[in-house]
């Protein structure tokens, strides 16, 4: 009652008074807003250099218009198809493997009843997430070294895995799972902690096994967050991380490690082909947006269908 009254009172005040009352809050927002305009919105506006021939002397917004020239150049580049294919396959396989693993881990860990052990396991699982990609890739290179690397020592072989293009995706995905699957369980663990424990007790009384409890209590609880995560990752399907691919790329594994993100960096920063690189990046984003919309449509269709089951 009291709350309602004050809400009405707030609504009733003239806008000018409310703006004035809050001037300190707007002042606080000043720095964040200015930074966002300069370093986030201005670059978005600057995407137009993808359609211009950028010359430093004429600037981002004054260089000559060239239409779709840079896009045409990209599509006729000899490695264009290979890069597209590598980008999509690398993230598709990544998604395929790294999406279910955190869910399985969380479902298992959630059922562990020894709190101490559970806590320690979580701490250790999070650890690799806090290590720099540079260090991770350094470790990968050491472990995969043909002479005395851990993997070769264990296998008793001397294969130089990083020169094998057939091994690149496996290396990328396996190390990605090692690094981030543990961190990925957080959101699922947090969701599972909302499950009413009396449900488990009731299920036990009814004679449900551990597996049945997971299947009928835990998984339904996780469904909406799973769908959300899947949509988010599918929408980023073209966003192959630049860092790891670049650090693990060698001249000999390019057949599978050549991806758009690396190309955008090499053309844009190393070769200073600003307009061309922006065009390639923009194309990548456009594909992403289309994918995001498509996946979103499919997901809402599926959840509609299953709600009738």
């Amino acid at each position: 009652m009291k709350n309602q009254k004050s809400a009405v009172a707030l609504q009733g005040r003239p806008l000018k008074k409310r703006l004035l009352d809050n001037w300190q809050l707007y002042a606080m927002l000043l720095i964040p807003i200015v930074l966002t305009i300069i370093y986030k919105y201005l670059p978005m506006y600057g995407i137009q250099i993808a359609f211009r021939d950028y010359k430093a002397s004429r600037g981002m917004f004054g260089s000559e218009w060239v239409g779709l020239k840079w896009f045409e150049r990209f599509f006729s580049a000899p490695t264009c198809v290979r890069m597209l294919k590598n980008t999509i396959l690398l993230s598709f396989y990544s998604l395929l493997w790294s999406f279910p693993i955190p869910i399985i881990l969380a479902l298992m860990l959630n059922q562990v009843r020894f709190q101490r052990f559970k806590r320690t396991t979580q701490t250790v699982l999070y650890a690799p997430h806090f290590i720099s990609t540079m260090v991770i890739c350094g470790m990968i290179r050491i472990f995969l070294s043909p002479s005395g690397g851990l993997i070769n020592l264990l296998l008793g072989s001397s294969v130089d895995f990083l020169t094998e293009s057939s091994a690149f995706r496996t290396i990328y995905i396996a190390s990605g799972i090692w690094q981030d699957a543990g961190w990925g369980i957080i959101v699922y663990m947090a969701t599972l902690s909302n499950v009413d424990t009396s449900l488990y007790e009731a299920a036990k009384v009814d004679g449900a096994s551990l597996f049945q409890r997971i299947l009928h209590i835990d998984i339904p609880e996780l469904r909406s967050i799973m769908v959300l995560n899947l949509i988010m990752s599918a929408g980023g399907l073209m966003n192959v991380g630049f860092e790891k691919v670049w650090l693990l790329q060698t001249d000999l594994n390019k057949a599978t490690s050549d991806v758009i993100a690396v190309y955008v960096y090499q053309q844009g920063i190393e070769n200073a082909k600003y307009s061309y690189s922006t065009a390639v990046g923009l194309f990548n984003t456009a594909v992403n947006i289309v994918l995001l919309i498509a996946v979103n449509k499919i997901a809402s269709k599926i959840s509609e269908d299953t709600s009738f089951v």
Binding site: M28, L29, T36, I49, V124, A127, I131, M139, S147, L247
Partner: protein, 302 residues
């Protein structure tokens, strides 16, 4: 009656079995995650020839701290470590302040324009200018080779801002803020005296996230800070770990010729990995218990 106790026993037994199976599986997973780090740690204090001969799977062989000594004797790595500390400290202080400045006003329900402002920030989570346009703006604002190129272009970490905003909305009692304002405190005073002290837990998480991001970053430094003397630790390590080349300064300090230099380079690899990874691995367990809470608060209404 009899049947009842029997089934009770049976389910008790299967409960124990499933407990054991679960613990064993988790232990195997623990081992897979922890062993690579343990192996590097052991190798960093062992003789590199023994490491490559496979003698250090469990324990160090010919214990030595030479690797760490040569890391700290290398001027490039030392500069890298100092730079990394500087960037991490300044960047974290700056980012957390900006984060709070954005999150608090947006958590005030009756702020006119709140919805528009939220969207203004959230859009940047999904759309960006991309690598080159951002690079050109950073260049045009004169930040090349300036430390602030690492902090300013990041702007507001929107994902984290939403987590903090939701924390303010859900975990800080409205009555306290209203009471303070009735007593004549300004919005700013309320923020500093009430909101900031009451949000210490979420601030700890944000500080750790920010520290980890700056300590581990090398890509931003690589493009915006081209001077070698400004490189943070991970970027310095790129020469050692990825390109596998000894620096000239190392070559000049080693007297034993090529073989000795080679040995030294290998040792430095292991010890520098430990030095780069250790600080963050030591810090995060302290705020671990807040992670889940924070993520939940952020997921509620993203």
């Amino acid at each position: 009656m009899k049947a009842n106790t029997k089934s009770g026993k049976l389910s008790g037994f299967s409960e124990r079995t499933s407990d054991i199976i679960l613990v064993v599986i988790c232990a195997v997973i623990l081992l897979i995650v922890a062993y690579p780090l343990y192996y590097v740690l052991v190798a960093s204090v062992s003789d590199p020839y023994d490491v490559y001969a496979g003698k250090t799977f469990l324990l160090p062989s010919q214990f030595t701290l030479d690797g760490y000594k040569s890391v700290f004797a290398d001027p490039n790595i030392l500069t890298g470590i100092l730079n990394s500390f500087k960037y991490t400290i300044v960047g974290t202080v700056f980012s957390v302040i900006v984060l709070y400045l954005a999150a608090y006003p947006l958590s005030v329900k009756d702020l006119p324009g709140r919805k528009f402002l939220s969207i203004f920030f959230i859009v940047t989570m999904y759309f960006g200018g991309g690598l080159v346009p951002t690079y050109l703006i950073v260049k045009d604002t004169g930040l090349i080779n300036n430390m602030w190129a690492l902090f300013l272009p990041g702007g507001v970490a929107v994902g984290n801002m939403i987590i903090v905003r939701n924390f303010f909305e859900n975990s800080i009692p409205k009555e306290m803020i209203e009471a303070a304002e009735i007593d004549g405190a300004s919005k700013w005073t309320t923020f500093i005296r009430i909101v900031v002290p009451l949000s210490r837990s979420i601030m700890a998480v944000m500080v750790v996230f920010s520290m980890v991001a700056y300590w581990n970053d090398w890509f931003t430094s690589m493009i915006y800070l081209p001077s070698p003397e400004k490189a943070p630790l991970p970027l310095v390590l790129r020469n050692i770990l990825i390109k596998s080349s000894a620096s000239a300064s190392q070559a000049s300090t080693v007297s034993g010729g090529y073989a000795e230099l080679n040995k030294m380079t290998e040792m430095i690899k292991f010890s520098s990995i430990i030095i780069a990874a250790a600080p963050m691995l030591v810090i995060y367990p302290f705020v671990q218990k807040y992670f889940e809470k924070g993520f939940m608060a952020g997921a509620v209404k993203g």
